[in-house]
């Protein structure tokens, strides 16, 4: 079964498991020290340095309204790339890399409809199933791309 990906980075947030395709992932970095930005939306946790560039970090749990257990441990930032654009998702654990051969497409259940247009697909393996979201849509709802009147743009529109 061709999923169109070589693998996925999976992580758990509250009671949900999410996955990011490796083609979208740019890397993982330690988000122990984030630079706070003034006057931004609450989901924006700050900015972090990734390979010489400043990358905005979005708290996914805060954005989705998931009540994750408060912990004082280390946090990590999963950087997503789309051409020259990058942003990162703030996650509470180091994600796991699952090869594509171990993943398969799963039918969405009724709860996935709550995600609306953020829902993209569901992947699963023998232990768990993972929600693949349109993460760039989340980013664009927070930080609209320059020159976009609607505040949102699809990857196809941006030539990616």
């Amino acid at each position: 079964m061709n999923l169109g990906t070589r693998g996925a980075l999976t992580f758990r947030l509250g009671d949900y498991s999410f996955a990011v395709r490796v083609e979208e992932a740019g890397g993982i970095l330690d988000a122990e020290r984030l630079a706070q930005l003034p006057g931004v939306f609450e989901p924006v946790a700050g900015v972090a340095a990734f390979r010489g560039e400043m990358v905005p970090v979005v708290d996914l749990a805060s954005y989705l309204g998931i009540e994750a257990p408060v912990q004082d441990g280390p946090r990590y930032a999963l950087v997503l790339t789309r051409g020259p654009d990058r942003f990162a998702l703030l996650i509470p654990e180091i994600p796991k890399l699952i090869p594509g051969r171990e993943l398969r497409e799963a039918p969405p259940d009724s709860n996935d409809s709550e995600l609306g247009d953020l829902f993209e697909s569901v992947l699963e393996n023998d232990q768990d199933h993972f929600h693949c979201l349109n993460y760039w849509r989340i980013f664009e709802t927070i930080i609209p791309p320059a020159g976009s009147s609607a505040g949102r743009s699809t990857p196809m529109e941006r030539g990616n």
Binding site: L9, A25, I28, D30, Y76, I94, L97
Partner: protein, 452 residues
């Protein structure tokens, strides 16, 4: 005293006659020569007279020389004997008089010893003898030696004569003449007078100086102080129970054991906290290694390069190895923290049980335990504390029992107590947070501070 006693015993030996004087020997030799001359005639008669005369003279010289030497030695020894008896503390004489006798005796004794090989000392002995004879003759005549003989004022007999003058009872030696050997002690085999010096007619007490009285009072005061101190020690009035460990009570011993164990556990807990800090650092390093491995695997997956994938796989294994080691360290640290807290609780419970038992024994109508039974109880408490510490040491050495295994600090044959029941019935480390153990450690001793 010894010299006088030896001389007296030697002279009083029965059956031993003194040698004949030289005059008698010479007279006997002349008589023999005259008889020989009257019997013999001619040259042979004169030869016999001459031979008898020479033999008599030789015999007289052989007998007279040692007798003269013995007489001189005997005179000196008798003088020492008299001075020794006069300087004895047992003599009933005033203190100043005794001291004077002692000084004179010491001086004469030293001069006699030095006179054996020193002519100058011999001359001093001769001069001293003359002064003694002069002083004795003046005293015997009832005159004051210091007034009649001014040379005695500069001699060694001055303090003695002043003491004699100031004393109401004159010693016998003042009436004796050193030249009259038969009157001296031991010359004729006579024993010493029973009480010497002779008591005076009136029973007036001797004059005692104020310095002597003050010294005697000080001595009595010191002896009384020493007696009081010794009596207090004999009655068990120790200065402080904490100064001598052997004098501690069982309760104090239990406290000491608990404090010692608490100090050791506190040090162990401090080291444990430091180990936790290092473990957290190791965990951060492990996280970085894991991130590195994940990024490598991510790039290998994206690129599809097998070489990159191999490197990423090795990096992942290294990160997993570090992760396992860090997890093991963290788990052991948590277990040790938990067991330290439990041990502290058990020690406190044991201490309270021991104190309660001691209080009950002290307050009950039953007879108090003997020192032996008290020692046995203390030994049992010490063994119990040692077992608690051993359980702590076992947890630090190895954790084979696992976090969910029961904490056993005694064998099943041993009697149970409340503290041990608390330990065994307590939940395992997995069910109890290590922070509680730290809190227990912090509450162990006032002032203890741990940084988590």
């Amino acid at each position: 005293m010894a010299a006088g006693r030896d001389y007296r015993e030697e002279d009083a030996r029965p059956g031993q006659s003194s040698p004949p004087p030289a005059v008698l020997v010479t007279l006997a030799a002349a008589i023999c020569a005259g008889v020989a001359g009257s019997l013999a005639s001619g040259v042979m008669g004169w030869i016999a007279v001459g031979a008898v005369a020479l033999g008599g003279a030789f015999f007289a010289s052989r007998t007279a020389a040692p007798r003269k030497m013995a007489a001189e030695l005997g005179r000196a020894r008798r003088l020492l004997l008299l001075l020794d008896r006069g300087g004895s503390a047992e003599a009933k004489v005033p203190p100043d008089f005794v001291e004077d006798w002692a000084q004179v005796y010491e001086k004469v004794n030293r001069l006699s010893f030095e006179a054996r090989g020193n002519p100058a000392s011999g001359a001093q002995v001769e001069q001293f003898k003359k002064q003694v004879e002069l002083a004795a003759s003046l005293v015997r005549d009832g005159k004051d030696p210091l007034v009649e003989a001014p040379e005695l004022r500069a001699g060694p007999l001055l303090p003695l004569l002043e003491g004699v003058k100031g004393s109401s009872s004159l010693p016998v030696v003042s009436h004796l003449s050193l030249g009259e050997e038969e009157e001296l002690i031991g010359a004729g085999g006579d024993a010493l007078p029973p009480d010497w010096p002779k008591p005076s007619s009136d029973e007036k007490a001797p004059v005692v100086g104020p310095a002597f009285e003050a010294g005697l009072r000080d001595l009595v005061r010191e002896i009384e102080s020493l007696r009081t101190t010794l009596a207090g020690a004999a009655n068990g009035q120790t200065p402080s129970a904490g100064e001598d460990p052997s004098l501690r009570t069982p309760a104090q011993l239990v406290d000491a054991v608990v404090l010692t164990a608490a100090d050791g556990i506190e040090d162990l807990a401090a080291g444990l906290m430091r180990a936790n800090e290092l473990a957290s650092v190791a965990e951060r390093v492990t996280n970085r290694a894991t991130l590195l491995a994940l990024n490598a695997a991510l790039e290998a997956t994206r690129s599809g390069s097998e070489a990159f994938a191999a490197i990423a796989e090795e990096t992942r294994r290294l990160a997993e190895f570090a992760r396992e080691a860090t997890d093991t360290i963290s788990r052991l640290s948590s277990e040790i923290e938990y067991k330290v807290g439990e041990t502290i609780t058990a020690i406190h419970a044991t201490s309270n049980d021991a104190k309660t038992a001691l209080a009950e024994m002290s307050g009950s109508s039953a007879p108090l335990p003997s020192s032996r039974s008290a020692r046995v109880q203390v030994v049992r408490l010490l063994d119990r504390s040692r077992e608690l510490l051993k359980s702590l040491g076992g947890s630090a050495e190895g954790s084979d029992s696992g976090p969910d295994g029961p904490i056993s600090i005694r064998s099943s044959q041993e009697p149970r107590n409340s503290a041990q029941d608390n330990v065994e019935n307590a939940p395992g480390p997995a069910e109890k947070s290590p922070v509680e153990g730290i809190l227990l450690i912090e509450g162990l001793k006032p002032g203890a501070h741990f940084e988590s």
